[in-house]
Amino acid sequence: MNNTFEYAALAPVVILLSAGVISMLIEAFAPRDTRRALELTLVFATLAVAFAYVGINMAKEIPGGAPLNGGQSHGIRQLAAGGAAAIDGPGLFLQGTLLLVAFVAALLLAERGIDPQGDAFAARASTLPGSEDERQFTAQGWFQTEIWPLFLFSVGGMLLFVIANDFLTMFVALEVLSLPLYLLAGMARRRRLLSQEAALKYFVLGAFSSAFFLFGSALIYAVTGALDFSTINASLGNVTQDGLVLAGVGLIAVGLLFKVGAVPFHQWTPDVYQGSPTPITAFMAAATKIAAFGAMFRVFYVAFSGMRWDWRPMMWVIAILSMLIGSVIAVTQTDIKRMLAFSSVAHTGFILLGLIATSGHGLSATLFYLFAYGFTTLGSFAIVSLVRDASGEATHLSQWAGLGKKSPVVATVFAFFLLALAGIPLTSGFTAKFAIFTAAIEGGATPLVIVAVVASAIAAFFYARVIVLMFFTEPPVDGPSVVVPSSLTSAAIAISAVITLILGVFPQPILDAVANAGLFVR
């Protein structure tokens, strides 16, 4: 460990957070009508440069760098910023995934061709819903470009979250990624009360879970006297105060499980997914899950790897509950966004299998799963934003009846995403499930895999039900129509669909990438 900061290694985070500051300055000083162009240029340039830096870091070999921890991985593996951040294969892969997901999500956020009133965000978030002000600002065609600094900060937080190597950095990253999301969730243009309720719920519960996380970190610090993960792991071996340690691990787990939306900490997902502006839901569902799982894996694979016999039973229970409750409750949903929310709870359960495997295979399978799931989710929510009636998005399932007849292409692509979520062969979802189930059986979690299979069967029912609804039922007379999106959303959907297909048919390059990512650096 040394005292330099390693700017090169941390460049992606630094770039994103600096861009967030610049973006705020644009909001403050640039003329209103130039802001959108400036912000969009900034956002896409930032994401591209940061992605390039991740690529450079992946390709770079550090001679005599930080201790290598087995594995035949390539690229940079070192601790940076005095041990606060760990730059390693999994971290870089997750950063790359996050940046790609953010890029596609930014396409959705920038869309202005779908809602006749403008974009998906309130003309002015500060106006009261239903007030005269709101009506006036909307009528004058105001737009909010403040979403962009928030978006950049959130992505920056996520990039830091997946490489944070001590509990303090991790907590800061958690807050940096979450706070902008709380705000963004409340900014929907339509159904603003629902959106604000979602934001408040998300904020209150999120704040609670952050507090749990912090409290857990404090307990671990009290026992081990350390915040960084490898020291904690080393000193937990000879600690006698079991109660404090277990409480600490439990509280930290609560904070992280909340973020990934695992049962019983999933209560916020349906409300927040439903209430948020759909582009934000897409971003949140894909990126937050990737970031939170990345952090969670680092915590449990590095800091608590020595006591996996203690936390595994807890994770077994949570995985089983998530898979079963997520799937079963999704069956009863009548709102497409809520259904996808519960499906994401079930997927959280599946991904936890990779955590429980506690092996290199478990880690690489999870990385693949997160990559695949991220894009499928983005694509599905992007399509949800297209199906509209006069009052906004038509999210009630009954309104989707006969969509296959009215817009065969949109319905077919959505059916494809649903099949991927269900894990049908030749889609990315299948390869991902296959990889993670294999890792779980290798790790001795065969019963969990059987539960996962049962949950998949239940899940297949509600996915198939939507397909039946779209293709085999007559459309309602005054049903919603599918808006023809601008090239932004079309591109987002196309990218997601192509990735979902390629990862199903020719997954080898990404499988190689996750295998080469190796293990976490300690």
Partner: protein, 512 residues
């Protein structure tokens, strides 16, 4: 001709038919039929080109697909899979001809959609029998669901959406259990060989400990039993068969369900020999229950399509019984039974389709006296029925006889009880014939049911010719099948029990 090319042909056909402009229905049908015929000829040529002295895989191809998981694009056929592929390829064009006009007034799909899906289904049918990579097999096994689901859901009777959903869910649940077992098998192979594999030949050479074998066996067996279908996993079949068009039902019951029994003989026995032996008595019991339950429910049906579907449940009982008797006659008989059942059930479904398209009803009670107004139709119906009840001279007799002989030497009680199933088969077939064909035609029957058309004859005569030809000369088929069943038997490490009376039993294991 490689197997990949044989799969590409119908795939190209499916794309071409789908790409035709809307409204050109006749052209779509002609193009589809053309592709179907070419595939059938190609498949027959490949079947004739099989080396009969070799029971192993032939026409083998292997290309690496996902090396990380040891998955490859591996194709190859043995004596069992080739006859099933040829049967499928021959049935498809006949089904096209028989169902020429069925699509326009069934459901709400387009004509080109129907024929395109049928050709797509043919791709997967060939693939599922030809795959030598277990993962590839699973992919085709699941992929088949998609065309069938749309074929039932879009082109069928009033309850088609319900039937399609039920079919899909049953198959998916079965498939998912197979997936769990598949992954388990992969992990076992990785443990034993160092790197996981799905290669068929490598998997058959594994030495899996008995406890693990039992677990994995059950996962696969569940999927195959749903597909086959065996009691108590059969309830999707009558709905699916009754709600789909006769052509779909023919391929569904005649070919697709064979994947279940094919999987048992091709995968379960060689890969899990110990577990197969362990579970054999229980499975034979289930098979006997299937024989009876299917037959009894067939007797009770008022809908002809459902009756044929339940009769198939009974027939599948025979097939499964023959497989798990582990004798060479039983295995050969079951394989032969799979082929014969495909043709005889197909013939029955198609004739029932002819009748129902005229009368607008599949109810037995709506018919009667058809013999008087359409004698040839009645004759064809009788021949198809007689084949289904395994009359000597028909091909199904040979296979049923072999299965019973093969079972008797190992499980005499099961064989004895199952023999009663033959009597029940005669009962439900002949009683259906009596109620629909004999007697005085009602006003509706004589006004709607006219004589069988030339097109319909062109579809049904080849099937009946095949049934009679293989009934009289089954040896041709058995020569292809026997080397492979011998090999399967040797991997299970079972020898035929010595006959009680020397000199009476055939040593060749054929009934001709």
């Amino acid at each position: 001709m490689s197997l990949t090319a044989l799969m590409l042909l119908p795939l190209i056909g499916a794309v071409v038919v789908f790409a035709l402009p809307a409204g050109r229905d006749l052209l779509a049908k002609q193009v589809a039929l053309g592709f179907g015929l070419v595939v059938a000829v190609a498949a027959v040529v490949m079947g004739l080109g099989m080396d009969k002295s070799n029971g192993g895989l032939q026409y083998v191809e292997k290309y690496s697909w996902i090396p990380s998981f040891g998955i490859s694009w591996g194709l190859g056929v043995d004596g069992i899979s080739i006859v099933l592929i040829v049967m499928a390829a021959v049935m498809v064009p006949l089904v096209f001809i028989a169902g020429w006009n069925d699509v326009e007034n069934a459901g709400r799909g387009t004509v080109k959609g129907f024929f395109s899906l049928m050709l797509l289904l043919e791709v997967f049918m060939i693939g599922v029998f030809a795959a030598t990579d277990l993962f590839l097999f699973y992919v085709f096994f699941e992929a088949m669901l998609i065309p069938i689901y749309f074929l039932i859901g879009r082109f069928g009777g009033p309850q088609r959406a319900y039937a399609a959903m039920k079919f899909l869910l049953y198959s998916l649940v079965g498939g998912l259990f197979m997936l769990a077992a598949l992954i388990g098998l992969y992990v076992v192979s990785a443990r034993e060989l160092g790197a996981g594999t799905f290669d068929y030949t490598a998997l058959t050479q594994l030495h899996i400990d008995p406890a693990t074998q039992k677990m994995l066996f059950l996962g696969f067996f569940f999927a195959f039993a749903v597909k086959a279908p065996m009691v108590p996993f059969h309830t999707w079949l009558p709905d699916a068969a009754a709600e789909s068009t006769p052509g779909t039902a023919t391929l569904l019951v005649g070919v697709l369900d064979k994947v279940g029994t094919f999987g048992m003989i091709h995968y379960l026995l060689p890969i899990f020999p110990d577990a197969s032996k362990y579970f054999a008595p229980a499975i034979i019991t289930l098979a006997v229950i299937s024989i009876f339950y299917g037959a009894l429910l067939a007797i009770g049906q008022s809908d002809m399509m459902r009756l044929v579907a339940f009769s198939s449940v009974s027939h599948f009982g025979f097939i499964v019984m023959g497989i798990f008797a582990f004798t060479s006659q039983g295995l050969s008989g079951s394989t032969l039974y799979m082929v014969n059942h495909g043709f005889s059930t197909g013939a029955l479904f198609l004739v029932v389709g002819y009748l129902s398209s005229r009368r607008g009803s599949k109810n037995i009670a709506d018919f009667g006296g058809v013999q008087k107004v359409a004698p040839i139709m009645a004759g064809v119906f009788l021949l198809a029925g007689l084949s289904s009840l395994a009359l000597p001279g028909m091909s199904s007799f040979v296979s049923e006889f072999l299965v019973l002989v093969g079972t008797f030497s190992e499980y005499p009680q099961a064989a004895n009880i199952a023999t009663v199933g033959i009597v029940l088969a005669a009962f439900y077939i002949l009683w259906m014939y009596q109620r629909t064909m004999t007697g005085e035609p009602s006003q509706e029957v004589s006004s709607t049911v006219n004589e069988i058309s030339k097109r319909e004859l062109v579809a049904i005569v080849p099937i009946i010719a095949i049934i009679i030809a293989f009934g009289l000369f089954p040896q041709g088929l058995l020569n292809i099948i026997n080397p492979t069943t011998k090999q399967v038997q040797s991997t299970v490490q079972v020898v035929d029990p010595a006959p009680a009376v020397q000199g009476l039993a055939s040593t060749e294991g054929s009934g001709s």
